[in-house]
Symmetry: C2
Amino acid sequence: MNKADYNYPISLRKVQITDDFWKKEMELVRNEIIPYQWDALNDKVEGANPSFCMRNFKIAGKQNKERAEKGNSFKEPVYTFRGFEALPEDPDNLEDKFYGFVFQDSDFYKWVEAVAYSLTQHPDSELEKLADEAIDIVCAAQQEDGYLDTYYIINGKDKIFSNLRDHHELYCFGHLAEGAVAYYQATGKDKLLKATMRFADYINNYFGPEEGKCKGYPGHEIAEMALVRLYEVTGEEKYLNLSSFFVEERGQRPYYYDGEEHPDIKIEKGHENDLRYFYNQAHLPVREQKEATGHAVRAVYLYSGMADLARLKNDQSMYDACETLWDNIVNEKMYITGGIGGTHLGEAFSYPFDLPNDTAYAETCASIGLVFFARRMLQMKAVSKYADVMELALYNGILSGMALDGKSFFYVNPLESVPKACRLDERKWHVKPVRQKWFGCACCPPNLARLLSSIGSYAYTEKEDTLFVHLYMGSKVEKEIGGQTAVISVEGEFPWAGTVRVSACGCDSEFTIALRIPNWCRNYTVKGTDGATTEVKDGYLYVTKVWKEGESVELSFPMELRMLQADTRVREDIGKAAIMRGPIVYCLEEVDNGADLHLLQVAKDGAMEIVDRDIAGTKVKAVTVDGYRKAAAKNAGGGLYHEYEEAQKEAVKLQYVPYYTWANRGENEMQVWTVTE
Amino acid sequence: MNKADYNYPISLRKVQITDDFWKKEMELVRNEIIPYQWDALNDKVEGANPSFCMRNFKIAGKQNKERAEKGNSFKEPVYTFRGFEALPEDPDNLEDKFYGFVFQDSDFYKWVEAVAYSLTQHPDSELEKLADEAIDIVCAAQQEDGYLDTYYIINGKDKIFSNLRDHHELYCFGHLAEGAVAYYQATGKDKLLKATMRFADYINNYFGPEEGKCKGYPGHEIAEMALVRLYEVTGEEKYLNLSSFFVEERGQRPYYYDGEEHPDIKIEKGHENDLRYFYNQAHLPVREQKEATGHAVRAVYLYSGMADLARLKNDQSMYDACETLWDNIVNEKMYITGGIGGTHLGEAFSYPFDLPNDTAYAETCASIGLVFFARRMLQMKAVSKYADVMELALYNGILSGMALDGKSFFYVNPLESVPKACRLDERKWHVKPVRQKWFGCACCPPNLARLLSSIGSYAYTEKEDTLFVHLYMGSKVEKEIGGQTAVISVEGEFPWAGTVRVSACGCDSEFTIALRIPNWCRNYTVKGTDGATTEVKDGYLYVTKVWKEGESVELSFPMELRMLQADTRVREDIGKAAIMRGPIVYCLEEVDNGADLHLLQVAKDGAMEIVDRDIAGTKVKAVTVDGYRKAAAKNAGGGLYHEYEEAQKEAVKLQYVPYYTWANRGENEMQVWTVTE
């Protein structure tokens, strides 16, 4: 690794997304998700279980005030263990208790982060005022010593940090830091940031390598990358070091978690699994982890933190560890949609090449975490393989998490769905045939909100004289070049057309725009580079020139229809093909193709055509492919099994639609992988 | 239904199995399973968890003796709820407590039933003495009032019959009755039978339609058919009526189980499932049950009891209910091996046509129960569809439950197994790639023992002038005809050759032998029927004549190699074929065909040949079929997905072996259903 390669995300205040495709998604976040989520945080969504999130902050704040008035700095309440989720005994008579999941505080932090990003793209004084007031409520809950987690503030501080593996205190802190930094960067307001620093200092006094300090680390990772962000915005090295401590301590023997009391799981004599904390990626020191394991969201959050540390500490072995894990995911454990997590048991990575389509977990949040990881790898070295996966996950496994109207969400993103099976087969109960309004454990919708409204910081990174374009979307970016502000414009119709025009103005000096060459493009063409220096390196076309107003560089990435197959070690996909065009993965739906999609076959050399379609009000490029429908074979004499006979086949035009648009026209069968003739 | 059609199993004392194939299996039961199981019941198997079965009987007996000596008829001990399985706190210092599963008593009852059948085929005074002594121990545990279940005798009788749904008291009673009747029929000794009648009387006083009596019924069925057996051997109508009460009460509203306290499961407000006891087949009155649901063993045990009652009460609507459930199983829920139970969740039937091969449950005991059900349907009317399934299950899904050396067992009988997946994928942990020595919940080995050693009573049934031959195996059967004893001999080499010779002697009168025409046979031939009256009805060839010594009727059922396919609604088998010959289902194993069986294809019109092979010392007819091995397709540039290209294929001879012999040559991949070219 080479510090000269390092690059950094563009400040969202310097990028404006104008793109038809992405602007629509961002507007859904602003108009649908953010207001809806605010209602959810305040238990105002009809028919949904209350979140109790803001209520918990208010109760903690009220108790603080009472203590202050009574001159009693902190009266320890009786600690009552309430498990992972505390529900009121009588929903109509709530007490002054903590209710909800142990990690409920984080819901607000995710919301405020999404609000922050949204404000950079669309100033909204009313929304900002609402956020400011909410921040006041949150800050009022903070203890004098800086501690801030309402679960323990309300239930009793004697037990803080006593169940790091399961109780998400450091996870909530991490989301607090992410939200606080984003809000500070978007608005310049530092109240939440200062509260975060006080809590971070508290944590830093509690944990660390020094004698007498706690040697624990987060059971659900995120604090690692959040502390790095806090360091980057404050310049305080202690936060970087704390992040590094958390990462390096992970998986050391004896296991820290063995010393905690976990009421739910006992390690039985003779049943000790030597790698028992693989679910938390704490089974081995991180540099020795060669395979992505355990809870997929936790995993990619950890790897993101590791990548941050590798960069900031210029740590080659940490970079190598990250790359090994990246390659393991992409080469052995990733769905064609960019989904990760092959099993719902632990919402986790399964073993290599185990990628079942119908029982997939492929959590929206996990693919979002994969994008976090990808951008951090890119920041060390712009190699297109990272951006390729980022693009793939965004257009497929992530966008599928949200309905086209922004009003319902998938947690799980299967590649094959038979609604009947999801209802009748308990092994598929995690797979929903239609998107849900909201979840009790509401991680995916707010995670989508914060990713989509900050999409600009994934599309672009920069270093001194170079702007990197990782994702193509209509946008305007400001970049300082030698005291001047260059305004770079990108125009195009991604993901439906492969032509992109890049232009720049406002700067007299030469600088470089590095444009990613997508892995799905076999032959691209460039126009407008006369007089420029061009170089292709690691999947990027570097164009260096003085960018004059009125000129543009035009790239054409032909979006051919492609038929793909999986590595034959993926047993579930054997003999099957999937259709892609550009970064878009296609699928078959029952509404277009009739029931029993498993009887369809795709022709190996048949015609494939692009057609314009409207899916629930959204204009997309759909695809038709020649194929067949096998006749249903039943035993005339009854019974399930009968003499083999070659199936009668009827030629049909298979109607493919973009995967991310599935289940927007009612409940129906869907499949990505279809048997070839 | 017509009483004139009714037929009855041949007494095992009147049938001697001489067949190479089945005699070997019965000898394994006698020489391997019965002695091994005795050691298991007495906690003498090295390395296995103790069963505590005989120990519990001894403790209960000791407590009885103490009470008698002290003149205290029954001192109620303090009841301590110990859950489903009670394990000692310190295995080296056992207390006078009940240990083991709540249904542990039944292990002895299954053992004594297998012993009884074995004694009919192979008298063994030492084994009989051992059984007599064990029966003394068991009877000493019985209470003065007739109650006999050591879990409650030791833990406290105040809670008897308080958890019918889960605590298996009536299940243990049912196995007691099965064992006691069998032992009485085999040896003429009635000590255990009398104890059973005392317990049955206790139960009959406790349960029933009369006011004030308990309206409960067994959570795990078997008492229904066991009570019928008890009625048939004692002539006591009350037992028949109690069976009928248990069956008719099942699924009536309000649900009986709702009134019980089940500490493990609460019905949450708003989450009441209207059919919540489908696991126990108690969701609807039995006549309204149209679909086989829930725990598969429980289900077929219930249906067997229903069939018994239909016959004895000449109850047409009960017969119709049985036939509906039978057809539902066979047409929608049965594997090609005769396995039932598509999901391990609840060891249960899945929804119609959901028959996954790799995560199958297909419990050995469930297929055994299906055989019980089949024979009871046959008893009302000899229709070959029942015997066809009986034969299929026996030669495949049941025999696969036992290793060829009788020393290890499968509980679960998958149709596809990848050992790596069974280890690494928690969703397949129930599937074992090799047979296990013994199970904590030891139902399958003793169930195999009792079925295999009583196989004669499934092969033959009789009515006044007719002997029905449902299964072909070398044997001699005695049948009373008009005061004379006809001895009927069957000879042949089933399942490896389809020729059967039937002869009879010792009787001057005309009588009928009804010979099943297997459903796998397209064209059969008969010789030696000159002068006989023959008729084909419901899949049986009825041959009526005076059977003279030295003459024989010879049937030839050509055993063609057959390639089968499944109903296209079975998604898991789409585009795949299975190989059968006669009743034998074949499979591919890695040891013969190399790893990655999913890359193999079977040729649609290729050559198929029968070859003699030796599998771990057992001589079988194996099969070779023309096929292909697809080359492994990997992306040269890394990554899991790449452009579709037609697979390179290499012609291979696929080596098929009988399914029941799989996993006898070490751990390896196996599959029954193979993709066709």
